[in-house]
Symmetry: C2
Subunit: 392 residues, 2 copies
């Protein structure tokens, strides 16, 4: 606690010493200790306001506002004096007051619509959030975070946030087939960045469909292409893709890309099965695939946890990875490096992804027009879980 913030009997002297300069001291009214300081009872600090600054600096409140917001209309001397007093008091503009004055809430929203049980699993999200934060915190924007069970609830949250004036914009994840969110956000006029591309890929020359909604795309096709090429190069011809949620746009894209890639490389049997991303369904899908009539020699998993679970199932069935089964994880993480053998994985750099999304949203909030930006294609990190198949 600085003395100046909770003025006690000696505070005035301290202030004077710090400010040092007769001009300033003359403007400064004597600081009176609050009643509690005399009685000795503990009081929580009172947050300083512009009025306090104005009084101390001997200028009007509007002068303070202009000075602190770098607007013309105050002399340099006044500006620097005001700034010094503000710093000294530890003043920060009340976001509530700024929001009410039409300056926006200085807050960005993020909703995760995944069942709580599968959340702990997704290291992707926490890394995404941490990337988002890097950018937001520089600009002193807050992140309002919410976990919900499903899409409708997510829409309800957006409506509420909008009505409550809580956020200036949102970052939307997990684009879906027939996604209702872009239209809703557009109708609310809530700027948004969709992480993971549009439902339908747009031609570069087309205008963005919504004027306040940008997109950060990932090239799922190229990424899947790299995986398929790697596996085909090793000689795999029977591949199973244990995909994620059926409703997600990127699931559809990955499934389609696998099919296309396999066809062009002459792979005989590829198929995708969708799951809920959980270890349980990942394990189950693996069991079914390996117990079937024509078991795959390689399995691609849409996340790291399913890949680890799947490798575990294979081991449990007496198979060796990668001798009997190659495993690829779509999502690199500590997990992939921690297991034995270490898993070949697609490295997406979720942090950079979050950073990019936040930057784009900050741009939108600053009035830049909406657009689609591409994220670098993820890189396939080849480790010990992929090798040529024993039996063709």
């Amino acid at each position: 606690m600085r003395a100046s913030r909770r003025p006690g009997p000696g505070a005035h002297d301290v202030t004077r010493t710090i400010l040092r300069g007769p001009t300033i001291a003359a403007h400064e009214p004597p600081v009176e200790p609050p009643p509690a300081a005399r009685t000795g009872r503990r009081v929580p600090a009172r947050r300083p306001t512009m009025k306090d600054i104005a009084r101390r600096a001997g200028v009007s409140e509007s002068a303070v506002s202009f000075a602190l917001n770098d607007r013309p209309g105050v002399s340099e001397t006044t500006r620097s004096r005001v700034r010094r007093v503000a710093d000294q008091l530890g003043w920060r503009a009340s976001t509530a007051a700024r929001a009410l004055s039409g300056e926006g809430a200085a807050t960005v929203g993020l909703v995760l619509a995944r069942p709580a049980s599968s959340l702990g699993i997704e290291s992707f999200f926490l890394q995404l959030v941490s990337g988002i934060q890097e950018v937001l915190s520089e600009r002193h924007l807050g992140l309002l975070f919410r976990v919900v069970a499903g899409a409708e609830e997510e829409c309800a949250v957006y409506r509420r946030w909008w009505a409550e004036q809580r956020v200036d914009g949102v970052i939307v994840v997990d684009p879906r087939i027939g996604d209702p969110r872009p239209a809703l956000l557009d109708s609310l006029g809530l700027p948004a960045v969709v992480v993971g591309g549009r439902e339908v890929d747009r031609e570069p020359q087309e205008p963005v469909p919504y004027p306040v909604i940008s997109t950060v795309r990932v090239d799922d096709a190229a990424a899947m292409g790299a995986i398929v090429e790697h596996l085909a190069g090793l000689g795999h011809r029977r591949v199973v893709h244990v995909a994620g949620l059926a409703g997600l746009a990127h699931t559809t894209r990955r499934v389609a890309s696998l099919r296309a890639g396999a066809a062009s490389l002459g792979m005989s049997a590829v198929r995708s099965v969708t799951t809920d991303y959980s270890e349980g369904q990942g394990a189950e899908a693996t069991r079914l695939a390996l117990a079937g009539p024509e078991p795959p020699t390689a399995i691609i998993y849409d996340n790291d946890v399913m890949a680890v679970a799947g490798a575990g199932v294979a081991l449990g069935m007496g198979l060796s990875v990668p001798r009997d089964l190659s495993v690829v994880a779509w999502e690199d993480s500590a997990l992939c490096r921690a297991t034995h053998p270490r898993l070949t994985a697609l490295d997406r750099d979720a942090t950079a992804f979050g950073r990019r999304a936040a930057e784009e949203l900050v741009g939108l909030l600053g009035g830049r027009p909406a657009r689609d930006v591409a994220q670098p294609t993820p890189e396939l990190v080849v480790r010990d879980s992929t090798a040529p198949p024993l039996r063709g």
Copy 2:
């Protein structure tokens, strides 16, 4: 978009139909379409305010406020009419305006001070957050979320949030030795719940040291006791504890509990080494321990990722888990169930933990006095990674 929110030419009729009743219709001024509706250009929706409700319901703004906040001073008929109009318009109180009126920001803060790299790893946090959300969302409280690099930055965030009037209270995680946060939060008068106990355990009859800071305790001693008992029962006498960050209060508690438990059970050689929770340091600690002169027959890891990494190292060294080495993870997760063999782990129920913390904070915000509450002792889930040692 409901017709009533973006009134077009036909909106008035719709409204009248929904409201149906001459009294109400008489109070309702005709809704004029905004200019944009005539020109056909898309306009973002304007959020409805109390003024809109007052006009439509034919009462004063203060009557609307009283009606909506369930305060006496309005008749039941007025109240229900006001409520209906508010619902119809999709009205929500502006949090900014409420905050400025002294009602609080309706927001709770959570700061995570961990390096971004190790964040994706900690499934604990995302589950904690999801538990916190369950409670907050019921009360329509927002969660302001922040990731920072270290303790000082965390304190700076609290100061800023307080000065900006952004949060009504915070949930504090990772209590540390010599933790500066409680004193800071106390001086700011910011209600807080510390998750994970106090730095120093308080006797039940002692008053809580800070009037607005509650604590949700976990019984690390009992948990470690259960692990030690399990291992001792299997016949292990040389145990290594790969702990987490040295500065954290619970690390200290676990280290001490291990020592105490081992002594009482006559274990010959136990020791703890601290790490940063990362897979890398977990693996390294394992390598060092196993390569040493008197290698342990069992290792306790302070999180799931290190446990998986450690098991991988053992495998890589030609050891079999659990035949040559027993492994226990302090933190159950998908990981522990996904690896092969599945890991014996301590199940903490992070979601319940988050729920409990949020409930306690909501209580504090409601004026309930601060207190320490205990969280049920975590349960040891015995799986395939622990067994009697081959060599004593």
